[in-house]
């Protein structure tokens, strides 16, 4: 009978979940007692003098460091050449974007920013003026901040583009496949919690000092919220709306492009916004590995114990953050307003 079979597998599962770990734990205790330096004479002493429990047994150690170092070395030797190609490509992209933005006279850049905000926010005058003033103030704080801000922005734009290229398709794939989601989620957790220097350093070893490892670090640091919010946005689309599309015979592609993505767009835009903010934070940290931009002004101020200089540069970063935040958020809000009933 099916039910009997079911019960048996249930029992085995129960046994495994309840007893496997206690058994392993007891075994570890016994083994570590055997290898401890000072063995007590009687059983009573085990309890009266528990010092054998205090030393972590030396043999109980995964040689992860050695594995990673060896692996990384082999990896670098074998595939280093591909990284050079990536390096050249990214560097080229950053340089040409930077050159383009620096060649433009600053009033034109401000005018461009103002125009983008004006149209993406649905012609909201208040936001537009505010962002225009913020942009102006970056240069107004210190003339050399203008070029630095442009350098930072061009690194960020490339980084965010890569985030979008990777993050949105990955988020879509996760929303469609639960197994993939369960596999990716811990990786995202890892990317968000591991200290950034842990991948900045190997980045330098692969790409050398400068903007490219900064971009790689930016992507690692900033892509998780975009992936999560894309996945969430698609998962949250009303099931009845999805069913409606299916009932009319919409194919997976028609469903995705015509219904799921447009309805997930406010969330995706929020993801891009989060991505932008985190990318900015990372670009500042990346100044420590020689990335040029507003971050290296902060770093310089700190090294010279020049509080005023560091604060001034910090303010410029905040202004840049405000400008980028308004641009990315305004567009998301505009879509959201349309889907809500009017007040």
């Amino acid at each position: 009978m099916g039910s009997f079979f079911h019960r048996k597998t249930k029992m085995i599962k129960k046994f495994l979940t309840y007893y496997t770990f206690p058994i392993i734990f007891v075994w570890l205790l016994v083994v570590s007692y055997n290898s401890s330096k000072r063995k007590p004479d009687s059983v009573m002493e085990l309890i009266t003098d528990p010092s054998w429990l205090y030393d972590w047994p030396k043999w109980l150690d995964i040689p992860l460091m050695k594995w990673i170092n060896d692996g990384f070395k082999v990896f670098n030797e074998k595939y280093g050449i591909y990284f050079e190609v990536i390096n050249d490509f990214l560097l080229g992209a950053i340089l040409s974007l930077k050159k383009f933005l620096i060649v433009l006279p600053w009033p034109l850049v401000i005018a461009l920013v103002v125009a983008i905000v004006f149209f993406s926010s649905g012609r909201k005058l208040g936001t537009t003026v505010f962002v225009g003033i913020c942009t102006f103030f970056i240069g107004f704080l210190h003339p050399k901040f203008w070029d630095k801000a442009i350098e930072t922005t061009s690194i960020m734009i490339i980084g965010i583009l890569i985030c979008i290229i990777i993050g949105i398709p990955l988020g879509i794939a996760m929303a469609r496949n639960n197994k993939l989601r369960n596999a990716i989620l811990p990786v995202l957790d890892l990317m968000q919690t591991i200290p950034s220097f842990c991948y900045l350093i190997p980045g330098i070893m692969l790409f050398g000092l400068g903007a490219v490892p900064a971009i790689i670090a930016t992507v690692i640091y900033a892509v998780p919220p975009l992936v999560r919010l894309t996945d969430l946005g698609i998962t949250l689309v009303d099931t009845e709306v999805i069913e409606a599309a299916e009932a009319f015979g919409a194919s997976k592609k028609q469903k995705l492009l015509g219904v799921q993505l447009p309805l997930a767009l406010p969330n995706i835009m929020q993801g891009i916004n989060q991505c932008t903010m985190m990318a900015l934070a990372m670009v500042v940290i990346a100044s420590m590995i020689g990335t040029r931009g507003l971050g290296d002004e902060v770093l310089l101020g700190l090294q010279q114990l020049n509080v005023g200089k560091a604060t001034e540069a910090g303010l410029a970063i905040v202004l840049l953050a405000i400008v980028l935040d308004r641009i990315t958020q305004a567009y998301g809000k505009k879509i959201q307003d349309r889907n809500k009933p009017p007040k």
Binding site: M1, H6, E246, A247, G249, A250, L263
Partner: protein, 344 residues
Amino acid sequence: MSKIEINNIYKIFGPNAQQVMPMVKDGASKEQVMEETGHTVGLDNVSLSIEEGEIFVCMGLSGSGKSTLIRHINRLIDPTSGEVLVNNIDVCSLDEKEILEFRKRTMSMVFQRFGLFPHKTIIENVAYGLEIQEVPEDQRHEIAQGQIKAVGLEGFEHQYPAQLSGGMQQRVGLARALATNPEILLMDEAFSALDPLIRSEMQNQLVELQAKLKKTIVFITHDLDESLKLGDHIGILNGGRLVQVGKPEDIILNPADDYVKAFVKDVNRSKVLRARTIMTKLDKFDKSSVNPSSTYKYDEDTFIEDIVPKVLKDRSTIEVIDKEGMTTGFITSDELSVALTKTE
């Protein structure tokens, strides 16, 4: 041949549905299956056939499996066992491409919470089915325009769904379903989310539309009055099992079990029963007692709520006539009192 034929459908929700199947087939109850295997029985050996051009109402309380059943017809849900024939084609045998084509051409669906696309305007919503069929834009907007007019929503074409009231939104849902000119209309609790006045209005509109269009409609509801008003046939589901199928009068006069009895207990019978059902046939009627001066002729499809006042007022006799005007039977106060007495 019936338009839609459902044969021995079982649906079990859970990770090992096939393994639980034998248990359900042996007659284990829903609760038993849940207790022992953690699986939910959605449908338990449901078979029915739906004729072309009728409104078939599927009724039951929430959790009875009615929404699951309707989703088997366009295969939004796959059965665990059994077959669904639409136009004599087994829906479950279609591959992915064929099922999409089948959904596009043969049927469309109306949803309880409307299922409109909030990012599309009303006209784009109505034209959605045609958009999926890749009909050119101006052509599909022309058809959509006609449907919007048919449900009385002219002037709202370029608004978004959120700007419309519930009743208006469901009209959009109905127009969207009709725009592809489907043979079959699936309506999942289509009017349940509307307030009573609007609901009644929508029911009337559906009856009117149906008189013109003659679609095959499968209508899901938990409201008996609604099912009696709309249904040519009614199927009553309880706990995933189909307990009774019949015409509205059959359900009222001969409830199959206590569950159906409890349902029909409070129904206003005079709104459901028709003259034809309660009359005494011509050959069994003693005409000697009839006073010709107080006899009125009524069509055999008249609801008895329209007859009662006449009979009560001056003890008159009702002569029931068919479509050709031939007398088929009679109704007096005796027949009325029998018909309106509740069965306990």
